[in-house]
């Protein structure tokens, strides 16, 4: 019953999206972005992420050494800008390769399933 309710509530899709969250964020931080602009950029590209999930995630990724940040004052209030660190760039490359392999494998599995 619980599993049925979770499926009805779209939990499997949520889990699927959660799995690619870090890669999606890393992909947009090759250039510096601050939290709100990053969320807008991801949403504009079809990957909306709740603000309550994204902003803490940025801090955790920074804590893991994958991002670096700095405060900047440009046209508006002070904002904290994040971009990939050297470690983050390495992880981004590795995850991108894994993702492409996964997409190819899943493509084959799903094509076989359709036949």
């Amino acid at each position: 019953m619980v599993a049925e309710r979770e499926i009805a509530a779209g939990k499997p899709e949520l889990e699927l999206r959660r799995g690619v969250l870090v890669l999606a964020v890393l992909s947009q931080l090759r250039a510096a972005e601050y939290g709100y602009s990053l969320r807008q950029a991801l949403a504009a590209r079809g990957m909306p992420i709740e603000e309550g999930t994204l902003y803490p995630l940025l801090r955790r990724l920074e804590g893991q050494g994958l991002l670096v940040s700095e405060w900047r004052i440009e046209d508006g209030p002070p904002r904290r800008y994040y971009r990939l660190s050297a470690t983050g760039e390495g992880l981004y490359r590795d995850l991108t390769a894994s993702w492409r392999g996964l997409v190819a494998t899943m493509g084959k599995l799903l094509d076989e399933g359709d036949r």
Binding site: E50, E51, G52, P77, P78, R80
Partner: protein, 317 residues
């Protein structure tokens, strides 16, 4: 309330749950981001931001407790979900047993003065009542140590095949010795009415069975005793326990301990009062311990892997 003040209050609630060194930095950024989110919503709605708009934003963002947890690095689980039910059950049983053993004295003794029961109850609460929680406390400390070991050395938690024989195997030499001891003990017990009178000194009077026990109750023990002995002998011959022997053993065990419990409550076993008074508590302890062992066996029996309904062949044993 002003919308920005609502956000400031929310951010305060989030950061006070964070480590002190993080609070100012996270708070400043979070307030800035939430204000920007609010401005965005206000622009989309085409009206100035108000308290209701700020509350809607913050409700969607999450409760302060949950949000502060997201800012923290992942911790480690102290009581794993697989163990939480057993942990809760044994904690509650442990406390309940201690209360059940100590609370009757509070209400059982007559009152020397009005209200003495309440004063006894107060004394009980500050001694056994609260003291009974030592068990969950000890269990939590053990769980914390085990969780730290798992976290520190993840390989310590890795599965390794058991070198010991499976749980259905029997240790033949040990079981043979146990059965021999059992047979000797049973023979001593059963033959006591014949050799007892010839024992030296006061022993015949000390160990003489009560006539009512010997004639009516005692013989009931023999068939179940013999049955259980036979089942263990079958396991010894087979070298392992099978479904039939496991179930027969459970059935004979239940009957045997039922008869022993009956002996405890149904009149004297020995003619000599002091012997009888010493034997019955001993027998009661044996029955209680044996019932616990039988309960564990029954619980394990129910947890065994069985083929699904309608499947006759098994992939293993």
């Amino acid at each position: 309330m002003d919308a920005k003040a609502v956000i400031a209050s929310y951010v305060d609630d989030v950061v006070r749950r964070l480590p002190r060194r993080q609070r100012s930095d996270v708070g400043f950024e979070l307030r800035s981001l939430l204000n920007e989110e609010l401005d965005g919503k206000s622009t989309d709605a085409g009206r100035p931001a108000d308290e209701a708009m700020a509350l809607a934003l913050l409700h969607a963002f999450g409760a302060p407790k949950a949000v502060s947890a997201r800012y923290r690095p992942p911790g480690f689980t102290i009581i794993e979900p697989a163990h939480s039910q057993a942990f809760a059950l044994w904690s509650l049983i442990g406390v309940a047993v201690q209360w059940a053993l100590t609370l009757p004295k509070v209400f059982g003794a007559p009152e020397a003065f009005p209200g003495q029961t309440f004063s006894r109850l107060g004394a009980w609460w500050t001694s056994w009542g609260l003291g009974a929680f030592w068990l969950p406390g000890v269990m939590v400390v053990i769980a914390i140590i085990a969780a730290w070991i798992r976290h520190r050395w993840p390989r310590a938690d890795a599965w390794t095949p058991r070198r010991a024989p499976g749980r259905d195997s029997v240790n033949r030499p040990l079981l043979a010795f146990g059965l021999a001891a059992w047979a000797v003990g049973a023979a001593i017990w059963v033959a006591m009415p014949w050799y007892g009178p010839h024992l030296p000194g006061p022993l015949p009077a000390v160990f003489a069975f009560d006539d009512g026990f010997l004639g009516a109750r005692g013989p009931w023990l023999l068939p179940f005793w013999a049955g259980q002995f036979g089942v263990y002998a079958m396991a010894l011959v087979d070298g392992r326990w099978r479904v039939l022997t496991r179930r027969l053993s459970l059935a004979f065990g239940a009957a045997l301990y039922g008869v022993l419990a009956w002996f405890v409550v149904a009149g004297p076993i020995f003619r000599n009062r002091p012997t009888d008074a010493a034997a019955k508590p001993l027998l009661a302890v044996i029955v209680v311990v044996s019932l616990i062992v039988e309960g564990v066996r029954l619980y394990r029996e129910q947890g065994r892997i069985r083929p699904p309904h309608g499947v006759t062949s098994s992939p293993g044993r």
